[in-house]
Amino acid sequence: MSKRLQDTAWRALVLLAMGLSLVFLVAPLAVTALLSFDSRTFLGPLPPPSLSFQWYERFFSDPVLLQGLKTSLLLAALVTTVATAAGVAISIVLTSFRFRGRELILSFLLSPLVVPPVVIGFGLLLYLSSIGAVDGFVRLLCGHLILAIPYVVRASVTSLAAVNPIYADAAMSLGASERAAFWTVTLPLARSGIAAGAIFSFAVSMDDVAVSMFLTDSRTYTLPVALVSAMRANFDLTIAAATVVFMAIVAVLMLVIDRTTGITNAFRSTHQR
């Protein structure tokens, strides 16, 4: 086979693979969005004969899902605040000083990312029961904190270390105290990475199922846990409506990040596990 023919054949194959990958990634979400407007009360073949908002009405009047959504939002906000404060604080220590074992400490701080979430969830359940912490919300807060904080640490260590010390030095040579130089120069320069870490910890808390399944009680449950039990109980397109609402929230969130920090920058520092 001639070189040119070989190249054409490979090119066609690669293009086909890329096309199929993109269809595979997008089509299920499109199908879900379409079915969430289905006017039928059962799951039938596509396309739906007519459209309606019945599943959205059900979602917004379902007390269990709404209660889950409320808990999830409250929990995620609290987790983001605590994880960001504690994570940024330790990252300041790690980037201000050079000391032996610094790399080792950083690897340890990132290690919850490679521990399977069910192991974290089960371990926390056993430990928290043994010390008598049985309140659902407190247990969920504990679980989500340890899930979220490594993302904050990674993002803020990367962004703080990337700030050139020359700027803080310049501020100090112009008379700023060390503390003032940090708060007015270094921290603002690192803010987009820190913001990315905070957004990630919010997203991690909103999405978690594996850890939360161990830590919920009958009164306190998150939206994903409520959705999972609804999925197990019966096949109901209310969840498709919930999914579309969730997709819309994420899309809006992404637009906001894109406007403030640039999506690729926000992502670069945080996506790696």
């Binding site: 399977p116 030095d169 130089a181 994420v250």
Partner: protein, 290 residues
């Protein structure tokens, strides 16, 4: 950042909150989990009895039956999905890294980031709706002679669920390494007579081998500890190791056995991370010596 510091001790105090979180919510729970895995199981008790001494029977129990079956399923489906993800991610990442159209690149990267932000549950549900046994794919499957309730098809759907999560992650991981390869190298190979795909096979792939290994590492460790995807898509028939831990907890309340499975899964995950990152480091250092 800051060189001379008047009160370094005060600055070190900033690490205390995070230190307390890691100690209380990470190290202690893992230690409690390990101790629990050494307790004998007595039916009727929730958890092992603290006064009953220690035993290795929970670990011996891992050798038989459900654990090895679940481990086999996890490794098989996880390995296939991770390989597929790296292979399919390469051309997509190459387009993102090299395309002359900034708009196309931004669109693709935006799509992959959106997918990552959607999380696991939403996407597992979307796949269940699309590919599941009662979904709109049913007539297509039946006309192709595929039984939508067969174990082989359910395993395929679980693999597809893993792939849907790890493919965007792999693409985003590979963009950086591909961008760092100088395009001149590829052109030189071609001007010396290599065909385009030959130049990719002999220049591009070896140069981004550490990146490929990293993408594979992320994919495989994710698959190994996957919980939601097999739970939603596995229809109760395809069980991963994580599902087993949850069943030991929620259905039969055999905490010591669940703890032993957890420790086994943890050791396996850490071993794979250590092995693959050592390999990636070696690869990088080899390249530097050439």
């Amino acid at each position: 950042m800051v060189r001379q510091d008047e009160r370094p001790i005060a600055r070190f105090a900033l690490s205390l909150p995070a230190g307390a979180i890691y100690f209380g919510l990470f190290l202690l729970p893992l230690a409690v989990l390990f101790i629990e895995s050494l307790r004998p199981f007595e039916p009727g008790f929730v958890g092992g009895r603290p006064d009953a001494g220690f035993t290795l029977e929970n670990y011996v129990g891992l050798l038989s039956g459900s654990f090895s079956a679940a481990l086999g399923t996890t490794l098989r489906i996880g390995l296939l999905a991770s390989l597929a993800s790296v292979i399919l991610a390469l051309p997509l990442a190459h387009v993102c890294a090299r395309s002359s159209s900034a708009r196309l690149t931004a669109l693709l990267i935006g799509l992959f980031v959106l997918l990552m932000f959607l999380g696991v549950l939403v996407r597992a549900y979307a796949l269940q709706l699309t590919l599941g046994a009662v979904g709109p794919m049913r007539p297509v499957l039946l006309s192709l002679g595929i039984a939508p309730t067969s174990r082989a098809y359910i395993e395929f759907v679980v693999g597809a669920g893993l792939l849907h999560y790890i493919l965007p992650m792999s693409v985003l991981t590979l963009i950086g390494p591909l961008r760092s390869i100088h395009p001149n190298l590829h052109e030189s190979a071609q001007s010396l007579g290599a065909s385009a795909w030959m130049a990719h096979a002999t220049i591009t792939l070896p140069l981004c081998a550490p990146g490929i290994l990293t993408a594979f590492l992320f994919s495989f460790t994710f698959s190994l500890s996957a919980f939601v995807i097999p739970m939603i898509l596995g229809s109760g028939r395809v069980n991963f190791v994580s599902s087993l831990v949850y069943t030991r907890f929620s259905e039969i309340a055999n905490y010591p056995s669940g703890a032993a499975i957890s420790i086994g899964l943890l050791v396996l995950a850490l071993a794979i991370v250590a092995l693959l990152s050592a390999l990636a480091r070696r690869w990088t250092s080899l390249r530097l010596h050439v």
